[in-house]
Symmetry: C2
Subunit: 311 residues, 2 copies
């Protein structure tokens, strides 16, 4: 049983109440607590030593990454983050200076995004550091973008470049908060998420939630320089750069769909608003449930699975 | 450096913003997100195998305890819980049935308190199970009870009976949500918290936050049958039952203060409202900063420290 199957099983019929607008299964939970004009976004995410970082990772980057992952989920709903709680599970004999540096990295990113750090706790995890962040955000009522709204005919877009994140980007990525709010403010987005498990696996989440299929154009996928470099230099364990871009995790770019009639207008407006960040149309939503990859030889079912935590 | 010192150091000047009503250092953070008449409560709490439970603990009780601890913090603010996120960090080769039972225990308690479980995540913690809960709640604007409002002359009250929680209560305690809302609705509480680290240590938190002292009457402390039994039966490692009641952790009872003129009225009303649960006046708030314990021989500074996680 992998992570997705386990989550699916355990979240089949969770306790719910009248405040829940969107429960488990999207980038954030969405709650209605009676604020006029606003809904609340609620998210947690944990990073664990040996899985999301190593003993050699600079502590500031561990703290930064833990918060950035949650911010990226708020971005995926087109929301604005407000306040975070930090849970730090520390090995025995931890170094207080190390912990202070973890917080320094986290606090710097929080300040940058006007997020308040309103508490949390330290506890003991004898064997390794674990850092979990809980984040509250807001989104204008009705403007939240779910995974479930993709429609046949939609164009599929992705920000930035994909693959090879583990070479460094996973510690330094910029959560696409500004871009996501701009997108949702100017266009009718149908579905959106942030790429954490790899394009192929994450697009599958949109397709499953929206009960549609997709065809991706292989040549259109924006492959990162890091993925290209890895493909060239790690010859013994050869892995094409396009495969890395399809399946590597932790890109933390936005993947979204909107009506194809809006595609050209979007690309024009994007270039003016965000000249430093690539935006690419990589394919289209189709009826059915298949995920197809089109290359020179035709269109093929995409067997490659996204990055799975419990591999 | 113990937990309290570390937290104090790391939370000296956290990033903040206009939404923050009460930041780090109380039972919950309090946020103002513009709801008319309501404020938001925000809390996380983690339980770790080998520290808060063992491999032998029934999994349902692990899940129950993880949520109950957070609910107890919402109670300490006189709030109402709304929605929870669950982070489950699982050892390698975990048993899905075990995980399902953890959720069953958590979900049952959530249902009982009308709390929605709106998501969360599973991740890997190779060596031991760690379960963290993030909880959102609400409290009528202005009715939240902080730790910082105790005043000289206040009577100090505690619900239930203290000490010996580790014999079983720590897995089965009832978060005092109903009682706390009733208290805040009928009386002007000055300060409140839930007892997690032991009466002596937790009362110290109220005293520090309120810049006052306290005198506790030793004979008034309600000692639990479990603490009395332990004092009788563990003769080789003899520990008086009153000391257990002062310093054992995880009682999860309410400790609060209010003006002494309200004390008799409170006791009368309480007996009618909650006949099954003890409420005891254990002492008074005094000027200064000392924590004194009065017994037959006089009033002595209380050296015994509350339960500290990093001992």
């Amino acid at each position: 049983m992998n992570e997705f199957e386990l989550i699916a099983r355990l979240t089949q019929s969770p306790p719910t109440n009248a405040a829940v607008v969107t429960g488990p299964g999207d980038d954030c939970a969405v709650l209605d607590l009676g604020q006029p004009g606003q809904l609340i976004l609620f998210k947690t995410d944990a990073v664990v030593e040996g899985i999301h970082f190593t003993r050699e990772t600079p502590p500031e980057k561990i703290g930064r990454k833990a918060l950035a992952r949650c911010l990226s989920d708020i971005a995926a709903m087109a929301g604005t983050p407000v306040a975070a709680l930090v849970t730090l599970a520390l090995p025995t004999n931890f170094d207080p200076e190390f912990v202070a540096r973890v917080y320094a990295g986290l606090n710097a990113l929080a300040t940058q995004h006007h997020v308040a750090v309103v508490g949390g706790e330290t506890t003991t995890n004898p064997d390794r550091l674990l850092l979990s962040v809980a984040l509250l955000g807001q989104v204008p009522r009705g403007r939240q973008v779910l995974r479930s709204g993709a429609q046949p005919g939609d164009a599929i877009f992705v920000t930035g470049e994909l693959g090879g994140s583990r070479a460094g980007k996973h510690l330094d990525f910029e959560p696409r908060l500004t871009e996501a709010r701009w997108l949702a403010g100017h266009f009718q987005l149908h579905a959106m998420l942030d790429l954490s498990d790899g394009l192929a696996g994450d697009l599958r989440h949109i397709l499953d939630a929206s009960q549609v299929g997709a065809e991706i154009l292989k040549s259109a996928i924006p492959v990162s320089p890091a993925a290209k470099l890895q493909a060239r230099t790690h010859a013994p364990a050869h892995r094409p750069a396009a495969l890395a871009a399809l399946t590597d995790g932790e890109d933390f770019e936005l993947l979204f769909t909107l009506a194809s009639r809006d595609a050209v207008k979007l690309l024009d407006a994007w270039k003016k608003a965000f000249s430093g960040l690539k935006l690419t149309c990589i394919g289209k939503i189709i009826p059915g449930s298949a995920l197809l990859l089109r290359d020179k030889t035709g269109s093929h079912p995409l067997a490659a699975h996204g990055y799975v935590h419990f591999a």
